[in-house]
Amino acid sequence: MATNRRKSRSKTAAPGEDARLPASGHELLGYYREMLTIRRFEEKAGQLYGMGLIGGFCHLYIGQEAVCTGIKYGLRGDDSIITGYRCHGFMLARGAAPGAVMAELTGRASGVSRGKGGSMHMFDQEHAFYGGHGIVGAQVPLGVGLALSHKYLANGKVSAACFGEGAANQGQVYEAFNMASLWHLPVIFVIENNQYAMGTSIARAKSGTEMFERGTSFGIPGRQVDGMDVLAVKQAIEEAALNSREGNGPALLEMMTYRYRGHSMSDPAKYRSKEEVSKVRHEHDAIDMVRTRLLDESHATEEALKEIDREVKAVVAEAADYAQSEPEPDAVELWTDVMHAV
């Protein structure tokens, strides 16, 4: 086993405290741009929600950008990924057009799900992203099913099944652990531990040891990873994927991360202090960490990064414009896609 059961680094480790993982300037610039795109996209979605252009539940990914970005780069492009309702970041990371994602949020015909799924239900088959699921924990067996299909088809692919630390208490997760391990399926269970499930801190919902050890009795090696460090996420995923691809079965990775916003747009997040949020934001932010390193290691100038910021803003602004100007689905769409014709 390449992975091990001990924490690889703790979430409170200050940036730069650990030895930095190797990465080229080109690579780091890519992460910077992609994570920033997700953040700006989500900020814009929040604004559109406030303007009444997006409805229902809308769960922003702000703070967690390193997780989906690290997963993307730790996997091959055709490895499958599945997650819950907090899925916008994954859509963007895997390559969906920001305009089409935003148009889904505004419920337009040119949205990725043609306006029918909304924030929680986005799929991108071209990029092997399988949603976008609203029922907490349900995506975990689905992700194991994708792994079963990979093994069955012997296509060498791996499946990443992502879920929150709150979802990690759901019974079907353990059923999925058992079968994945029993059948040596190529699946990486990724817990995005952002410390809260809605208003419930992890300590109030979880008994026993740390989450990454919850697979141990099912024979699944677990590891805690700094989910704010895109390189750490990427490396942990790479190792687990390699191991799974070799037929050694599943791994469990607990990504220590944090969400800066409320659970969804309707959550004022009174269950934690402003200081708690701002401490993470200022001391251990995923994007800042890459930014600092880019400057430290002279891969980029302040000006070059500002230019990226401007470009990202333009991309997101364009997506927002598109999402507001596109038409709603045609009324006849109410009745389509219920069933495939035989």
Partner: protein
């Protein structure tokens, strides 16, 4: 009478019953410190403490089962599902463990428990968060099923449900939580389970609805009155037992019936009511029973499609006109 929102009425019902009976407690996701995902349990943790207002992990099958076990052990649990969509994870515990045990044990083992939470469509929450489970639970002998519209009924029925020695599935509606209604004062205000209410008398056509659709039925009746059609509006309130007497009595007067529900028509509550009327008042019907129901599709997200998927008052008006053979 003071006006209360449905939200306040539900909270007051629980608070009053918890004051009256130390065996009553509330358990569910975010019910305590967060005061309820929809703030139904506002203030309860403060008043009753963490032993009686219990936050759970996101494990519906587990805590529903724990609730049933606690009821077996002599307590009177109120189990809140954040929405009934998530109760599908736990539905075996509701149906098989709560609903069937009294019968299976020949009357030995009671299960006094209330399962409550919002049911049916909310706003823009799409297919996985919008299902109405009234007819599923309504089908099961051994369960009582309630689905109030007004704050008064919400309060009176929830108090009855908590006092009931049987398992009760209590279906709320998120979009009603903020609506205000007059509510009779006093801790003794109870609404008995199993009785429908005639909210508006009328001689020409009967409209039966439950939960949020009662508002649509009343709006439609208002429009119809302007056209000279007097609609009688019945709020079902309880799904099981279903008050067929009130419906039949009305149909025997109006000879016309429209049913309204947000869920899917197929084997829904409207179908059941139609069957009952057919069985008991076939010769009284001057027009076929018309069903107004949610479109036969998973709930779409887009605002325009969602509106098309849900029953609108205008559809009820049109169905009533048709039943009265008015152009």
């Amino acid at each position: 009478m003071p006006a209360l929102t449905v939200r306040e009425a539900l909270r007051d019902a629980m608070a009053e019953e918890m004051r009256a009976d130390p065996l009553v407690f509330l358990m569910g996701e975010e019910v305590a410190e967060y005061q309820g995902a929809y703030k139904i349990s506002q203030g309860l943790l403060e008043e009753f403490g963490p032993a009686r207002v219990i936050d759970t992990p996101i494990t519906e099958a587990g805590f529903a089962g724990i609730g049933v076990g606690a009821a077996f052990g002599g307590l009177r649990p109120i189990i809140e599902f954040m929405t009934f969509n998530f109760a599908m994870q736990a539905i075996d515990q509701l149906v098989n463990s709560a609903g069937k045990t009294l019968y299976m044990t020949g009357g030995i083992q009671s299960c006094p428990i209330v399962f409550r939470g919002p049911n049916g469509p909310a706003a823009r929450v799409a297919a996985q968060h919008s299902q109405c489970y009234a007819s599923w639970y309504g089908q099961v002998p051994g369960l009582k099923v309630v689905a109030p519209y007004s704050a008064a009924d919400a309060k009176g029925l929830l108090k009855s449900a908590i006092r009931d020695p049987n398992p009760v599935v209590f279906l709320e509606n998120e979009l009603l939580y903020g609506q205000s209604f007059e509510v009779p004062e006093g801790e003794d205000y109870l609404v008995p389970i199993g009785e429908a209410a005639v909210l508006r008398p009328g001689a020409d056509v009967t409209i039966v609805a439950f939960s949020r659709m009662v508002g649509h039925a009343l709006a439609a009746a208002e429009t119809l009155a302007g056209e000279g059609i007097e609609a009688e509006v019945i709020d079902l309130r309880s799904i099981r037992p279903l008050d067929s007497e009130t419906i039949l009595a009305s149909v025997r007067r109006t000879h016309r019936l429209i049913t309204v529900e947000e869920g899917w028509a197929f084997a829904g509550i409207g179908a059941e009511i139609g069957a009952i009327v057919m069985e008991h008042a076939f010769d009284e019907l001057d027009a076929p029973v018309a069903r107004i129901a949610g479109a036969d599709v998973p709930m779409p997200y887009a605002a325009n499609l969602e509106k098309l998927a849900l029953p609108q008052p205008e559809q009820i008006v049109q169905a009533a006109r048709n039943a009265c053979y008015v152009e």
